[in-house]
Amino acid sequence: MFGVRSCERDPLLKRPFCYFRKRGDEIDILYRVVGKMTSIMKGLRPGDKVEILGPLGNIYPMEEAECGAKIPLVIAGGVGIASVYPLLERLKGKGILFYGGRNKKEILLRKELREISKKMVVATDDGSLGFRGTAVEAAGDFLKGRDREGFVLYACGPNGMLKAASGLGVNGYIASEEKMACGIGVCLGCAVRTKDGYKRACKDGPVFRTGEILFD
């Protein structure tokens, strides 16, 4: 994760984004236009400047998956795909991806994702592509009759999705999308309620162990 800020004076605060792709000095961001900063980003032209602060926070631990002890079960909702894309790449085709969105239009990069995943299941709320329902429901169907101990979870998406994914009974990691102000751990704005009290999504996260976060 890193923070992007407009060199203009409004908006004030940086916005958090994932490294979608990184090669040398270049960073690609995959983002959805939702508000002020993302609208400014959309309007940027070559040569325009933005401020970037990063890397910030932690990344998905990958030992169990890389050594082959567990099968990586990856769940992404919406732009959460930007977070798991580099993970899938580093997992070198071992990851099973459940990717959900509201509708077909929200499902991006199908071809690339298929190439870097062992298996990909798309889920849309309106059934306009793949499974009709959520990515977590699709993952739940897939897990039926399978030994959950054999998997390690990686999930990124809106809070509701993370909560549902935590309920799948698969241990692993979820990435929080809490709102941030400073991104460096000083403001305590991005608090995430955990078993051990509030933690900071920007500094102690954004990736937490399943079961660590308390969803209300």
């Binding site: 409004d10 908006p11 004030l12 605060l13 991104g183 751990g185 305590l188 704005g189 608090a191």
Partner: protein, 311 residues
């Protein structure tokens, strides 16, 4: 080099009572944690002083999220004084920030005068250079701001803490909602405060018109950032004309020129808060900006800026 730098630094030196600051720029409480995170970005000893996140006697959980939201040229927060409590602070946090050659100012908040005095005593024993009484946090229900809005209990609180501590400078952080900023400033001075600081955040609210829900879970939080700067400059102007003790100005400072504006209005030192969220180096850049402004205007000493607004 070192010699030259020291010389430069002396130009920027200002005093808060007995305390000398290398330059007029400090962090604003709650925007620099306990120092560890900012230390990853710069040498803390470049600061005039470091003011730490508010601490209370026992650990506080803080408020539910969302705790922050951006507004036009500002932000609202309702952290709710989440903090580790005095004991953990003294054991785990204070030793770390002591490693730097920078005055440490602890910001304290209690629900009774007794809590404030116990905190102040313990922190004096632990050797902090300054204690800032937070009587203006809009984000906790009990204590704190109650003292900042009622002159009688305000006086009694400052007096009680003043009696208890000797060495650290005592700073009283006023509430921007205080009915009569001059009166509260004079009361702090009369009860023995070494300095006053202002402004804390201003109670504020924002609603998402799409979801129809408050953008801060607690509904009301505190507004900070450039949006409030003109209000803060005005209050610093009023406060500094009411008292002889130094005034620490804050509220929306993002550049050296913003800091100079507060100093022209009457501030002796300034604190940088929200700007640190925009850029972790903000406080240092503000100090550099003050120096640049002084060079442009041929001013030899930072303390000469204080109150030097022309008619």
């Amino acid at each position: 080099m070192q010699g030259q730098r020291n010389k430069k630094d002396r130009k920027l030196e200002v005093r808060l009572g007995r305390l000398r600051l290398k330059n007029p720029v400090m962090t604003a409480s709650g925007t620099a944690g306990y120092g560890a995170e900012l230390a990853e970005f710069f040498d803390l000893s470049e600061l005039g002083a470091i003011v730490l996140k508010g601490i209370s006697l026992t650990p506080w959980q803080g408020n539910p999220t969302p705790r922050i939201t951006e507004t036009r040229c500002g932000m609202i927060n309702s952290i709710g004084l989440q903090n580790v409590g005095l004991e953990v602070f003294l054991r785990e946090k204070l030793p770390f920030v002591r490693q730097w050659d920078v005055p440490v100012i602890a910001n304290i908040l209690g629900t009774s005068a007794a809590e404030y005095t116990r905190l102040a005593s313990a922190l004096e024993d632990a050797g902090v250079e300054g204690i800032e009484l937070n009587v203006s946090c809009p984000n906790v229900k009990e204590g704190g701001i109650a003292f900042g809005l009622d002159l009688k209990s305000f006086r009694a609180l400052v007096r009680a803490v003043r009696k208890r501590i000797r060495r650290p400078v005592l700073i009283v952080k006023l509430s921007p909602g205080a009915p009569g900023i001059e009166e509260f400033s004079r009361a702090a001075e009369n009860e023995g405060a070494d300095a006053i600081s202002l402004i804390n955040t201003i109670p504020a609210m924002a609603i998402d018109v799409n979801t129809r829900r408050p953008l801060i879970k607690n509904r009301i939080g505190g507004l900070s950032g450039p949006a409030i700067k003109p209000i803060a400059v005005r209050m610093v102007y009023q406060a500094s004309r009411a008292v002889k003790i130094p005034v620490i100005g804050m509220g929306g400072i993002t550049t050296g020129e913003d800091a100079v504006e507060f100093m022209l209005a009457g501030a002796t030192a300034v604190a940088v808060g929200t700007a640190t969220f925009m850029d972790p180096m903000a406080a240092l850049k503000v100090a550099g900006g003050i120096r640049a402004w002084m060079e442009r205007h041929g001013i030899k000493s930072a303390s000469a800026i204080t109150g030097a607004m022309l008619a």
